[in-house]
Subunit: 220 residues, 2 copies
């Protein structure tokens, strides 16, 4: 039987993405928690370029970068596909995954740290990107349609981490008034079994994040 | 027959990637040159989020982001595959494509613009990333092995634009002494028919880039 191991970190949305995909497909795996303040020889061996989690080991071969790993998982284990079948739909899912990674995550994350003089610009950028996502979701249950797909997995930061980060930073960017569609999705999302079981404890995450946000946080 | 159109810009390595893939597969397409200083209603209609080239239109449906387009092309037209068949090899190709886009291109590009006080750091980062690529190539003819593949197409910036940018900026980062393996690849690459036919005129590119690089360029 295939030997699957995952080097991850409990608080990382990137390694949680991989856990979600593996669980969704029912793949048994050994999970190895990495201490990112003191990286293991295993992590440095298998991801010498980026030295980051997640690293998926499959029969001794390493695959890194969460988006690359998710595609690998979907191609290797066919049950419960996370990418759509048609090339165009696949392209759309890849587009949104990239948009979340490159636009939404940095913009929303930076708000928590952003210095006073850059606040306005950061908030504006984050709102604009989240509005694009809100518009994409519209009346769909999940980004993937009726069930969790690649984009939902990639959006776990917005589905869970963002709320904890908001609480830790004392910021309120996303709520039911400002983003009703996203908030409805968040509700569905965190109550979905495979997602719920693969999220870090909220209190632990908030306690972890709080000291990392500088004193210059503000109420939006 | 399928109707394929490409909105591109002559000097963009990103839209040239798409042309390379289409030509490699022998797909007929209509090319529409975009004036990026005065974006067309067509571009704004089909790429309303990023408002960038390239945009591939296939039977009226738009696909954007060059990496997403390359995967779409490879899945839609099976002749002359640009991605390997096995999921692990595919993952490796995706990893390198992402590495070039997110690490190599920004680092090397910024050197041309970088202010005096950030020069050392920028050069160090660019060299480090290019050494990683040099090491990956080793004794392979192309990143894809014996023939041009996804990574070679994505690396067109290093294969051609970097040389023109170096000349325009008066910088010499990559040469036969510092990067013998990459330089050998560059020679093979630009002499490959499908690549050569899809590169912008070198003089025109240098004339376009030169005024864009500030007076603070330097000899490495």
């Amino acid at each position: 039987m295939a030997e699957v191991k995952l080097l991850g970190a409990w608080g990382s949305p990137f390694s949680r993405r991989v856990e979600m995909a593996l669980k969704l497909k029912g793949i048994d795996y050994e999970y190895i928690e990495e201490d990112l303040a003191n990286k293991s020889p295993l992590l440095l061996k298998y991801n010498p370029i980026h030295k980051k989690v997640p690293v998926l080991l499959h029969n001794g071969k390493a695959i890194v970068e969460s988006l690359v790993i998710l595609e690998y998982i979907d191609e290797t284990w066919k049950t419960n596909p996370i990418l759509p079948e048609h090339p165009y739909d696949k392209a759309m899912a890849r587009f949104w995954a990239k948009f979340i990674d490159e636009k939404c995550m940095p913009a929303t994350w930076q708000i928590m740290f952003r210095k006073e003089d850059e606040r306005e610009k950061a908030i504006e950028e984050a709102i604009q990107n989240l509005k694009v996502l809100e518009n994409e979701l519209k009346d769909k249950k999940f980004f993937g349609g009726d069930k969790i797909g690649l984009v939902d997995i990639v959006a776990n930061f917005i589905g869970f981490w963002l709320g904890a980060a908001q609480e830790a930073a004392g910021v309120e960017l996303v709520n039911k008034e400002s983003f009703p569609v996203l908030c409805k999705w968040i509700d569905e999302y965190v109550n979905c079994k495979v997602i719920k079981e693969n999220l870090p404890p909220r209190d632990k995450l908030i306690a972890f994040l709080q000291p990392r946000f500088m004193a210059s946080t503000w109420k939006y």
